[in-house]
Amino acid sequence: MTTQLAPNTQSPGEEVAAQCCSSDPGSVPRRTRGRRVVGLLGRRLLMMIPTVVLVSLGVFAVAAASPFDPLTEHLGDDYQSATASQREAVTQAHGLDGHWFGAWWRWWGDVFSGDAGWSSTQSRPVTDVIVDRLPFTLGMSLLALLFATVIAIVVGALTGMRRGGLLDRVCTGVAAMLAATPPFVVSLVLVSVFAVGLGWLPAAGARRPGDAYTVAGLFTHGVLPCLALTISMIPWLLLTMRAAVVDAAASEAVRGARARGIGGWALLRGHVVPVSVLPTLALLGTRLPELVAGAAIVESVFGWPGLAEALVDSAVALDFSLLAPLAVGSAVLVLIGSAVSDAAAVWIDPRIGLRA
């Protein structure tokens, strides 16, 4: 780390994201904050119940309103050739002739009794599919999130402290380019360069066909999808981090510290990081929708056997038994993420007052 840092150049027209709006500097003691955090998490958990009910109702209502015929799921390829009496029998057996609200009610009953139905695309019980695929998605997503966060913190701090410098302009430009490139284009570029062109890494899957899963196999197959997912998350993370650092670097506290002769690493660690990097990290949870979207795209391009790929496959093949729990589950995941995120922000940052 160099000891000299560029002074804050306020270039006109450059917008600075406001991180925190509370102007009251009165710091709240940590114990009070702890109670607030618990209360906030409790309230959010309670709010989650009606939200999940509404989201699942929405999924069933959309399915009922659409031209999609639930018979296709049970008859599969025989849908065209089935006779009217056969159709009638299947309809009776699965209780498909009732109102969609009844189907929704029965579905929740089944879910609570541990039987979430049969997935026609995977030819296995839905619970088995979820249990088998969850580790793949969690491993891939968490690893990519970790890499993206580390890169964003390092590059964001460097560029934010030297705003307008060469590194800043290059990195912001690259981030803008990446933000404009959908993750599937990034994935396909990686495939055509590293798998097809250079032949270094496999293009899809998580093991060689016929082999068992091995650590080495998972690693070689996972490099490209993990890279694609990391790249897809870097732009927003890096730019938010940079904006927070720019804000912090322009604050009076930092100006005061500079006037006292503090600079370089000490200034960064003591005055900039606590008010910029930590609060931004607390925001990570609110951006889980991006992670879900990125995982859905990257997993299906690379054929990574995770839940997000199953979500896309079940939607393409209209495998409603699998689609419904995955769609509701992703909403629950996002809600948990934002609740934890808000709690972390209140815990870390004494400037944040509680509104809700």
Binding site: T181, L188, S192, P235, L239, V292, V312, S330
Partner: protein, 284 residues
Amino acid sequence: MTATIGAAGGTGAAFGRAGRLLPWAVLVVVAAVALGWPMLAGEQAADFGRALRAPGAGTLLGTDHSGYDLGVRTAEGLRISLLIALACAVLATVLGVVVGVASVTAGGWVDAVVMRVVDGVNALPHLVVGVVIAAMWRGEPVAIIASIALTHWPAVARVVRAELLEARTAGWVEAARLAGASRTFIATRHLGPAVGGQVLVAMTVLLPHAVWHETTLSFLGVGLSPDEASLGTLLGQARGDVLTGAWWTLVVPGAALMVTALACAAAASSLRRASAPPAGEVWR
């Protein structure tokens, strides 16, 4: 979305004064290509005899795996993707403005409930909502447009509400009211223009985001049907073709997508700067 906004601010600043017109010029060129090239090229026919030819002799940008000229095909795809995205952006903006204005006008508990709904819709994973809706109505452009518009109006509603609340209590509006101006006069002469700029910015930001959504849905196989050219379906076909080494099937539509998204983001950023009040803000 916010990432794109911030990024565009950076690039716009890097280009300087001339950069303000550049994104609009690029957008005009993109629109002209999307509308003009398919018209000039005329009716296209699949010709498997000339499938997957590299760019160069005969075809400017190569051919796809059905033997279509990739340049023409990309221009057609750009046209459909832009039309769908424009419909999404307009619909989401109209919904957002209606909800925002209604929320401020009603105030009280209605406002509180509406803001809770806004938060709720915003918290959903938008792509998953899009995948579910588009999968059920397979290949229906209306379903794609609805799925994107219905998940993206809250951002506009929030902006409209915030701007209206601020403008309503501004000094110049109070002055007009004290001078005896009617409610309609204040609404059309003061509040409308105050909110209009921000609405335009929000719509321009939504445009590339809607392109992103449509291409992603089509790429994943739940959007437009594969024989209709959209940037998403073209890239979906490139998914198989790049494995045979046909890099141009990825590069041509991918580049069109990136140029459009970058130009839209930069245009939104320059609009925002133009609609922001001057630094002094003496009237507040």
